[in-house]
């Protein structure tokens, strides 16, 4: 399932422009990462791509179909989003949360069928949270809670998975654990993934395709190797970096000054 973003212009308040003339293509089966400085419009673009915001002009096509013509329920069967800082009532158990992921397939008050059960079991397992299924969310660690929310998104059984800064507030171990999970979901379950990240080295390591944004525009797009250059980072972040590569680390960058 691919997504075509065409000439999007968007403003939250009709005064300042938050996205101007943004076009991009999300390739099926790839991990695409959007990076850029704070306030560059990364999360806004993700919001446009998931129909949370309606652009003032431009179109988003999902497999050639206009996104805005899909019913909310239809869209939720094709595209799942893990947002930043999601909340649920404190006594919600992991399993119950994951069952919410079946809402797009449910009519009011119908009970779960076999397909729902299979999807919930798979989601719990794929997110590596099935051992905590009866725990309540309030008792989980940050990493486990994030995986519970990912499991909820997986239970929607979509081909597209969006993650908005999924590693924020996690320590280094859990950041890597989460990104490994994302990679596994992509490689083994064939999910097309779009995420917003802050850490450039993580973006390099875990992405097939990187979109770099600055002030509401896309300033660079391509494979990690082709876009993550010293010049690009200086222009985008106003930070001098040294881009290195060695056998053990692959491509990586180190900030060297302002």
């Amino acid at each position: 399932m691919c997504m075509d973003i065409k000439a999007i212009t968007y403003s939250h308040d009709n005064r300042s422009t938050h996205l101007s003339d943004v076009s991009a293509y999300i390739q099926e089966g790839a991990i695409t990462t959007i990076i850029g400085p704070n306030g560059c419009g990364k999360s806004t673009l993700l919001g446009i791509m998931s129909q949370h915001y309606r652009p003032q002009s431009g179109r988003v096509l999902l497999d050639g179909k206009e996104l805005s013509l899909l019913k909310p329920r239809e869209l939720a069967q094709k595209l799942a989003v893990v947002h930043q800082q999601q909340e649920a009532p404190g006594d919600t158990t992991v399993e119950k949360l994951v069952r919410f992921g079946r809402m797009p397939y449910r009519r009011l008050w119908r009970t779960d069928n076999d397909e729902d059960e299979v999807a919930v079991e798979w989601a719990l397992h794929a997110a590596g949270i099935d051992h905590k299924r009866s725990s309540i969310l309030a008792h989980l660690s940050g990493g486990e809670r994030q995986r519970a929310w990912i499991a909820m998104a997986l239970a929607q059984r979509t081909q597209l998975l969006f993650l908005d800064e999924p590693t924020t507030y996690l320590d280094l171990y859990h950041q890597l654990e989460l990104l490994e999970l994302v990679r596994t979901l992509n490689r083994e379950s064939g999910l097309t993934i779009v995420m917003v990240l802050h850490d450039m080295n993580q973006a390099i390591r875990y992405s097939d395709h990187i979109i770099i944004m600055k002030e509401g525009r896309i300033v660079g797009e391509g494979t990690p190797k082709s876009v993550m250059t010293e010049e690009m980072i200086l222009n985008t972040y106003q930070v001098k970096v040294a881009v290195k590569s060695d056998a053990q680390s692959g491509l990586y960058m180190v900030p060297v000054g302002l």
């Binding site: 949370h52 069967q77 649920a88 404190g90 006594d91």
Partner: protein, 327 residues
Amino acid sequence: MGKKIVSFGILIALLLVTILYSAATGSIKVGLIELAQGLIWGGNESVEVVRDLRLPRLFVAMLAGAALAVSGVLLQAVMRNPLADAGVIGISSGAGLVSLLMVTIFPALYFWMPLFSFLGGALACFLVYSLSWRSGLSPLRLILVGVAVNATFTGLGQSFNYRGSYAVTSVNQAISSIFTLKTWSDVEIMALYGGIGLVLAMLMGPWCNMLVLQDKTAKSLGIPVTKARLIVSAIAVLLASVATAVGGLIAFVGLLVPHIARLFIGSDQKLLLPFSALGGAWLILAADTLGRTLLAPTEIPASIVMTVIGGPFLIIMLRRSERVHGH
């Protein structure tokens, strides 16, 4: 799950016992067997008095309590705010004011009072939403705006009431909550509109479960958030307005009952809605029964009993709010 079934069982038993006690107790005392016989075969004068005066009162009290409690659950879900309650944010006083005005100006339209009440409640709800909406609902702003709207409508209602002695007698029951002098026609109005509201509310459980998550989460799960919010709010306003139109202004029910219910039943709205309906019915019936038996023959209105119980309870609740689930 076992705890939840036991909680339901105990609450239903409590409600039944209170109904029986309330039906048998008061200025005219009748035994339960005598009451049953009189209701079935007739011919017992004191049972007929009970049937015409006390039983309607019982039903109105229970339906009003259920309606207010469920309206509280719905508003708390839709506004994602544990303090949302029809009484606190002005829906009840809006409903009271508009029905008061209409009934005073057009006394012939008494039967349509629930409709005017609904319009008043909807007006208040709309005001609270639109005045506190600023790219999202801030819980604090919503409550502050609600308190202001409530004060305005209450003030208008009271000034109208002081306007002249002519209005006071005919209109008093619209704004104070005395369940005396309720007839079976009040029960009919209450059961019809309140019943519709309660049935619709029970169907809203899955949506309410989604609305207590954030909008962004609910949207991503394919919920038409704006539509769901509008429908759930409308049902909440209907329930609160009907309760106000027939039973008068009663504060705290929509706040207390859902909060206590959550302690027993958790935050799953599919269970919370019916449990709160039963709890609200029991609470108001108990408050009304207490009010008319405690200092008999003097009556304390249920609304006053509720305020006396509700105030301290709210303080206790806030003190231990760490342990109460926020929404």
